[in-house]
């Protein structure tokens, strides 16, 4: 436990030192990166140790007045989430060391590192906190550090807007969490996170509802996901990698912890989580297809994947509630494996996107293209990440979805009546999400990386330095490794599964997936050799791409990101193309904004807040600034109070 806390302390102090290093950017970078990676290592060792079956670590300290007894612990569930935190934190730090100098003014590098390291330390704090006050403090510290990262490049107005939306969502989440812990403390008299409750009356439902709201706001569950796309697009790439890869998972961790605390929870908990998760997945991937900016598309894919994870947890809870432990183990196993898998893949993709923006100085897909030839390593790594996150076989994304499919199939077969039907419908929807995901990432890779460059910035793109490619390579290796041998990771889930689905649960067997991966890699090697042989024999000639004999083909003739997603956007699911109606009399400037995807934020939240603000403004006119009115208010207040005092007290002597 001490090593863990030492890791967190080292990371935080490194960040602080980087902040104090002020103008000396290189020193700040070195300090921050070294402390983050070292801290990561210090966290990884005990986490793996606990996962491998070691006894859960606990530590209780008696602090001063406002804190009272503070207890800290690392059980398999926390350890499971600590591993991606450590890995991605360290890798992101190394990447940031060479990414930041080009993207951050020397004076503010310290701020970036302070935010990054505090985010790391805060997240670890949340994972190990075992009582309400420490949990809330580390949780808010994490949110504020996240805000530090999101509004790092605050010179751009959209970054500031993203920062404000992020803060509002974070504050709403914290308010809900505050009431969660207050209700908990009020009913059980103490606020330890470990002791499961006796199944009281309405208490579990209230607690879980607050938990879904509070943790969902941070995890990006469907109604509260509006801040996620803008925030992750605004943060520096290694920051958004950490936020997408790990911070949203901390929200999922909180949800699991609440479910554990309440002991499985009421019957509605599973289905609601499945519904929320699935809608989140569908909406997330649907929006991602029509996005134009690279990092926003990736952020929306995070919304989709978190949706899948929460759906997995919902399925697990649902099955556990009905006693089907084996199916619950499958579902929880799939969700937990996806936490690791998605952390690695999304981290790789965001670092790749950062490398693209480093090389081509823009994240807008419509200005990219042709990068595979100019930035071969980044292109290849991004392609690998895309294949993985679309859930396709040989890589790490497939195993988790495979487990989810198995649990759904098992549930469909075992349960009867409405439950079976709903599980099967969910299976169909999961298949649709899988298809849309591969469409989204074919679009991402095909438009941004392949083809010919659509702007001179893309044409003159240059490969990123080794300092950025090596961490991405490490993540890519992890993705391939997890894809080839998911059994290793799932083997470690023993402790967590027993916590979640009861002692009978055992980690599912994934030997088949490894078999498939081996067969596939072998087949690809043979196929490659065959093609190489054929091409060598037949010879290769270079010729212009077939353009129907058009005289002067230009890169702009290529398919664009929007057109690739147009079929979905237009007809099948949601109509988002808007045609401007030119005014009859004097022609007003008409504008075709074919990517007008208002999303929940633009369509719902902002108008309601604006309406409330307008009502407040109308109210304010009452205090019109002249002193007579103020005195009149005082008089009214006085008379009311006096009347109430004399009347309410009745005839008391």
């Amino acid at each position: 436990m001490i090593a863990l806390l030492a890791g967190a302390a080292l990371t935080f102090s490194g960040g602080l030192a980087a902040l104090l290093a002020g103008r000396r950017a290189r020193l700040a970078g070195a300090l921050g990166a070294a402390s983050a990676s070292l801290g990561g290592a210090l966290i990884l060792v005990p986490a793996l140790e606990v996962l491998r079956g070691g006894a859960p670590l606990t530590l209780t300290a008696q602090l001063g007045a406002p804190w009272g007894a503070v207890s800290v612990g690392l059980d398999p569930l926390s350890a499971w989430f600590a591993v991606p935190l450590a890995v991605l934190g360290a890798v992101g730090a190394l990447y940031g060391a060479s990414y930041l100098p080009a993207h951050a003014p020397a004076s503010r590098t310290g701020v970036a590192w302070f935010s990054y390291n505090t985010l790391l330390a805060g997240m670890l704090g949340v994972l190990v906190a075992r009582d309400a006050t420490l949990f809330l403090v580390t949780w808010e510290l994490m949110s504020l550090a996240g805000w530090g990262l999101v509004s790092f490049e605050h010179r751009r107005p959209e970054v500031r807007r993203a920062g404000l939306v992020y803060l509002a969502a974070a504050h709403l989440g914290t308010a809900l969490l505050l009431s969660f812990f207050l209700v908990l403390r009020h009913h059980t008299g103490e606020s330890a996170l470990l002791t499961p409750l006796a199944v009281g009356s309405a208490l579990p439902s209230v607690l879980l509802a607050l938990a879904i709201g509070g943790f969902g706001a941070k995890a990006g569950l469907i109604p509260l996901h509006v801040w996620l796309p803008e925030a992750h697009a605004a943060a520096p790439s290694h920051g958004s990698a950490l936020m997408s890869g790990v911070m949203v998972k901390i929200g999922v961790y909180g949800l699991l912890r609440a479910a554990l605390l309440v002991g499985g929870g009421p019957p509605w908990f599973g289905p609601v989580l499945v519904a929320l998760g699935l809608t989140g997945a569908l909406v997330g991937i649907r929006m991602s297809i029509t996005q134009r900016e690279l990092k926003r598309a990736l952020a929306l894919s995070t919304v989709e994947n978190v949706g899948l994870i929460v759906m997995g947890i919902g399925l697990g809870a649902w099955a556990a509630a009905r006693g089907a432990t084996e199916i619950a183990a499958l579902a929880y196993g799939g969700a937990l494996l996806h936490v690791w898998g998605h952390g690695l893949m999304k981290g790789l993709l965001f670092l790749g996107a950062g490398s693209v923006m480093h090389g081509a100085h823009t994240g807008d897909m419509e200005h990219l293209g042709g990068l595979m030839r100019r930035m071969p390593w980044t292109g290849a790594l991004l392609a690998l990440g895309a294949v993985a996150i679309a859930g396709l076989p040989p890589l790490s994304g497939f195993a988790a979805e495979w487990l989810l499919y198995l649990s759904l199939a098992g549930g469909g077969a075992e349960f009867t009546g409405l439950t079976a039907v709903s599980w099967l419908v969910v299976l169909g929807a999961l298949a649709l999400v899988g298809g849309l995901a591969s469409l989204a990432f074919v679009r991402l890779i095909g438009i941004a990386i392949l083809g010919s460059p659509r702007s001179d910035r893309a044409a003159t793109a240059v490969e990123s330095p080794r300092g950025m490619l090596v961490p991405m390579g490490a993540l890519a290796a992890a993705v391939v490794g997890l894809g080839a041998a998911p059994g290793l990771a799932v083997g470690l889930q023993g402790g967590v599964l027993t916590q979640l689905a009861g002692p009978a649960a055992s980690p599912p067997d994934l030997s088949g997936v490894s078999l498939l991966a081996a067969a596939l890699w072998g087949g690809l090697a043979v196929g490659g050799l065959l093609l190489w042989a054929l091409l060598r024999r037949g010879g290769v000639r270079s010729g212009e791409t077939w353009g129907c004999g058009y005289a002067s083909p230009s890169p702009t003739m290529q398919y664009t990101g929007r057109s690739l997603g147009q079929i979905l956007a237009q007809g099948v699911l949601v109509k988002t193309m808007t045609r401007p109606e030119p005014t009859p009399l004097h022609p007003a400037p008409a504008r075709l904004d074919d990517l007008l995807v208002p999303g929940l934020l633009g369509a719902v939240y902002v108008p309601t807040l604006a309406w409330v603000a307008a009502r407040f403004l109308a109210l304010r006119r009452r205090q019109a600034g002249n002193v007579h009115l103020y005195l009149a208010y005082m008089g009214v207040g006085l008379v009311l109070a006096l009347a109430w005092a004399t009347l309410s007290a009745g005839g008391a002597p």
Binding site: G370, M372, R373, G379, A383, A390, L392, P393, F398, W402, L406, A409, G412, A420, L424, L427, G428, A431, L432, G434, G435, L436, S438, V442, R443, I445, G446, L450, G451, S452, S511, G512, V513, L515, L516, L520, G523, G527, G528, L531, L534, L535, G538, V540, S542, T545, W546, G547, C548, P553, M557, Q558, Y559, S563, L564, G565, I567, L568, G571, V572
Partner: protein
């Protein structure tokens, strides 16, 4: 021995499908049509030709055909073709089957986009969107089989030992069968969804993606396409025909015949109707999904 027979069937049978379809189309149109072994000749010819590669492309352009073929073959390994069970089978490999084809499709689309031509982009967009919409139909159809036989491994579902699904559940599986046939047509870009014989780039879906592939690359792609067609036909055959009652050689013989019959059916359909309007295709795909979903609901009740 079974493994050798399985591999032989898997590698040699597919081009025949192409020949049969071509021949049936010709006969219906009153022509003699090309010889049955025409596709084999084409493959050999393409293997010797030299490939023309556009300067805008990268290694993804070359990887497209290879991944397409490999995924089809590996998926083939998972399907029980004859009496024996599939060489590569594990619980839940029906999901792997679907996602393997997804991987193949991912790379062919990426290869199409790599060339940087407007037509190939169009083809890639249509292909990816249509496959995304048809994916639920395939998986729900498979689920119907899972419900009727109880195991999630293809070998058990369609294998020799298992009683023929039709006899077990009858009517609902007919619905699923029709839906799987539609999936077959959509996945392999046959007529109602796409017209392989057209030369108008704007109207194609699958063919336009392979516009720029030439020589061995084109060969690999066509061979992969036929293997995929054979796989889907094999699923359909195992679904409809009861197996496992006769001697082993009968099962081994029954499959090629069944597959050829399915190819003839496809040829008949291709010559009897034209390609539907592009805007209507999503509607047909969704209806295929609903068909298999209803079939499943009837079973799950």
């Amino acid at each position: 021995m079974n493994l050798v027979l399985h591999l032989l069937l898997l590698t040699l049978l597919p081009p025949l499908m192409g020949g049969v379809i071509g021949r049936v189309r010709a006969l219906v149109a009153g022509r003699r049509g090309p010889p049955l072994l025409q596709p084999y000749y084409e493959l050999v010819k393409l293997a010797q030709k030299s490939a023309v590669i556009s300067p805008t492309t990268s290694w993804v352009f070359l990887a497209g055909p290879v991944v397409g073929l490999t995924t089809a073959l590996v998926a083939g390994l998972m399907l029980p073709l004859g009496a024996a069970s599939a060489p590569l089978s594990f619980t839940g490999d029906l999901v792997a089957f679907a996602y393997l084809l997804g991987l193949g499709r991912f790379f062919t689309s990426a290869a199409a986009l790599d060339t940087g031509s407007a037509f190939e982009g169009m083809g890639a967009a249509r292909e990816a969107t249509y496959s995304a919409l048809i994916e639920p139909a395939l998986l729900l159809g498979m689920m119907a089989l899972v419900l009727s036989t109880g195991s999630t491994s293809l070998a058990a579902l369609l294998g020799g030992g298992a009683p023929s699904p039709l006899s077990v559940a009858g009517a609902p599986l007919l619905l699923v069968g029709v839906s799987l046939f539609l999936v077959l047509l959509a996945e392999n870009s046959r007529v109602p969804f796409d017209d392989p014989a057209t030369h108008l780039e704007l109207t194609m879906v699958h063919e336009v993606m392979v516009l720029d592939h030439s020589g061995p690359l084109l060969g690999l792609i066509q061979y992969g396409a036929w293997v995929k067609l054979t796989l889907f036909a094999a699923i359909l055959v195992r679904l409809l025909l009861p197996l496992g009652w006769g001697p082993a050689w009968a099962d081994w013989a029954l499959l090629p015949v069944g597959v050829v019959v399915v190819a003839a059916g496809i040829g008949a359909i291709e010559s009897s109707m034209a390609r539907t309007r592009l805007l209507l295709v999503p509607r047909m795909l969704v209806s295929a999904c609903l068909l298999s979903a209803f079939g499943l609901l009837l079973l799950a009740r």
